[in-house]
């Protein structure tokens, strides 16, 4: 039984169905990467895992427990954190306050966790009293990921963490993702930059029209000519 196990998941917005019969399995400590064309339903899949869209069929299990449609505060208690694709910071709160809000469900002393996040993202350390909305795009993404890390998650859901970043910042974010994963955090990441992302993925999932198109190891998907032709723009 996998650590994260999604079976026959169908979900959508209101009456509109977007995902149908999606399957996704990931072992503990792995990086799973979801790729696919614009509008394929990648974000919807992450939102479904975080209880933010209407699930009409199927189940999501974490370490054997059913977490289908569970509310965010209860997911936080189970160690699931989510970084949305857009609007993923509190712009008029300071960097430090953004991190504190990430820890809202914790009642213990989390000051050591905050310091740990400044070690993972050193550029944020000198900006902790600055409004997050004033930072550069790359630093804003660091705040967004840092906020999610505040619960010390077991499972981290990242929706396009490199969107809109220059190649230099992009590889910096990928490095951080690897570093976070090295601490034992299981990661599910949606990415537009499919080649770089699949290169660091243990498992890759290609979605098309809200359904599984290909599922394999990251390396195999990169080597698969059919995937390359239709999804990697090669």
């Amino acid at each position: 039984m996998s650590f994260l196990s999604i079976d026959g998941l169908s979900a959508g917005y209101g009456q509109m169905s977007i995902l149908s019969d999606v399957v996704l399995q990931l072992d503990e400590g792995e990086i799973g990467v979801i790729v696919g064309a614009n509008g394929a339903g990648k974000s919807t899949l992450l939102k479904a895992m975080f209880g933010l869209v209407n699930i009409t069929a199927g189940s999501i299990r974490l370490a054997g427990d059913d977490i289908t449609g569970m509310a965010p505060e209860r997911l936080a208690a189970r160690g699931v954190a989510f970084v949305p694709q857009e609007y993923n910071i509190f712009p008029t709160l300071t960097v430090n306050e953004n991190l504190e809000m990430g820890a809202y469900s914790r009642r213990d002393d989390f000051s050591a966790v905050i310091e740990g996040i400044y070690r993972i993202f050193p550029p944020l350390a000198d900006k902790r009293r600055q409004m997050a909305g004033e930072l550069s795009g790359g630093q804003r993404q660091m705040v967004a990921v840092g906020r999610a890390l505040m619960i010390e998650p077991r499972l981290l859901l990242l929706d396009e963490p490199t969107a809109g970043l220059s190649p230099m910042f992009m590889s910096e974010i990928f490095d951080r993702v690897l570093a976070i994963n090295a601490t034992g955090v299981t990661i599910v990441m949606v990415e537009q930059n499919a080649k770089q992302a699949l290169a660091i993925a243990h498992r890759g999932f290609v979605l098309a029209n809200g359904m599984n198109a290909f599922t394999d190891t990251g390396a195999n998907l990169l080597a698969n000519p059919e995937v390359a032709r239709s999804f990697l723009g090669a």
């Binding site: 936080a76 504190e100 809202y104």
Partner: protein
């Protein structure tokens, strides 16, 4: 010099008083907008209701025959703030929350608040009648006269005015500390910034909503009570308050508490300066001015009866030239 003291009393102190009232009302309005995303039309009547609760509490205590060194209303408004806060939460649970949970559009909730406004107006009239009431029924208002050097004229401040100025200062500082230091205060700012991300972060929206009503209802009660102590309690108090507090909240930038405070004082001072008779300040110079320039008897920009025009004009200017307000709030 006498004329200058007259100016201090009529324009500066009056501006400070009415500005404090507007600031206390506008802060609640802007927080409610920031968190709940609707214009709370019933806010003026929440101020009237608060004043009425203060009167009832003070009256009830006076019936017990207790001798108080200070006028009862000046003490009663503190517990009345708590009662009004609870009533505000109750109104939200009963009328606004069901609409929110149903995902109603903001305009629907605004309309519900118009209904609540009419209801509160009716309620206060049924319980208190339509006449005016003196909040200082048990003892007269103290009047503080502050002597100034070089003039027989004095600065004049009444007891409730002094309390109001002190209370506003304390409330602003307390609110600032709450919003920047307290976990719940920061969560309020987070919800106002990005409600979806607040939910994703596990922030309990119900706590934040309750805190918003406690602050909004409590400050509305304090402002309404102290204003009616300064003048008298009338059931239509809110009529002259609603437009200025909306103007103050919008001028300050919707959703920006510090903006609302600044906006409150801006609107308050604009009003008193607009109705101030400037010819008083010119009179001492009558001797040195050329003979053909006769100082007219009244040089007020706006006649007192039209004072409500001032916030209206400010509102229009802001909405046309800077719809986000001074502190860059949301666009309505």
């Amino acid at each position: 010099m006498d004329e200058f003291v007259f100016f201090l009393n009529k324009a500066v102190i009056s501006g400070l008083i009415i500005g404090s009232i507007y600031a206390l009302g506008a802060v609640g309005l802007t927080l409610i907008f920031g968190i709940l995303r609707f214009a709370h039309i019933a806010h003026g009547d929440m101020m009237t209701l608060g004043a009425f609760v203060t009167l009832v509490l003070a009256g009830a205590v006076s019936l017990t025959g207790v001798q108080s060194p200070v006028p009862l209303s000046l003490i009663a408004f503190i517990p009345a703030m708590a009662i009004t806060a609870v009533v505000a939460i109750g109104i939200d649970r009963m009328f606004y929350r069901p609409l929110r949970e149903r995902g109603s559009r903001p305009i629907i909730i605004v309309m519900a608040s118009v209904g609540v406004m009419l209801m509160l107006q009716g309620l206060v009239r049924i319980l208190a009648g339509v006449g005016t009431r003196n909040m200082f029924f048990d003892q007269p208002k103290d009047i503080y006269r502050i002597a100034l050097p070089g003039t027989p004229r004095e600065l004049v401040l009444t007891e409730p005015q002094a309390v109001l100025i002190g209370f506003t200062a304390v409330a602003v500082i307390a609110l600032h500390l709450f919003l920047t230091r307290a976990r719940l205060g920061k969560a309020m700012r987070a919800v106002s910034d990005n409600p979806d991300l607040a939910r994703i972060s596990g922030i309990d929206i119900n706590h934040v909503v309750a805190a918003t009503w406690v602050i909004g209802g409590g400050l509305a009660c304090a402002a309404g009570s102290l204003l009616s102590m300064d003048v008298v309690l009338k059931p239509d108090l809110s009529f002259n308050l609603l437009l200025p507090i909306f103007a103050a909240a919008i001028v300050g930038g919707i959703g920006q508490p510090y903006g609302a405070i600044a906006g409150g004082f801006l609107v308050g001072f604009s009003e008193t300066l607009a109705i101030f008779n400037w010819s008083v300040l010119l009179r001492p110079f009558a001797g040195v001015l050329p003979a053909w320039l006769e100082v007219p008897g009244n040089l007020a920009l706006v006649p007192t009866e039209y004072k409500l025009m001032v916030p209206f004009v400010i509102l229009i200017i802001v909405l046309v030239y800077r719809p986000t307000g001074i502190f860059r709030g949301r666009v309505l």
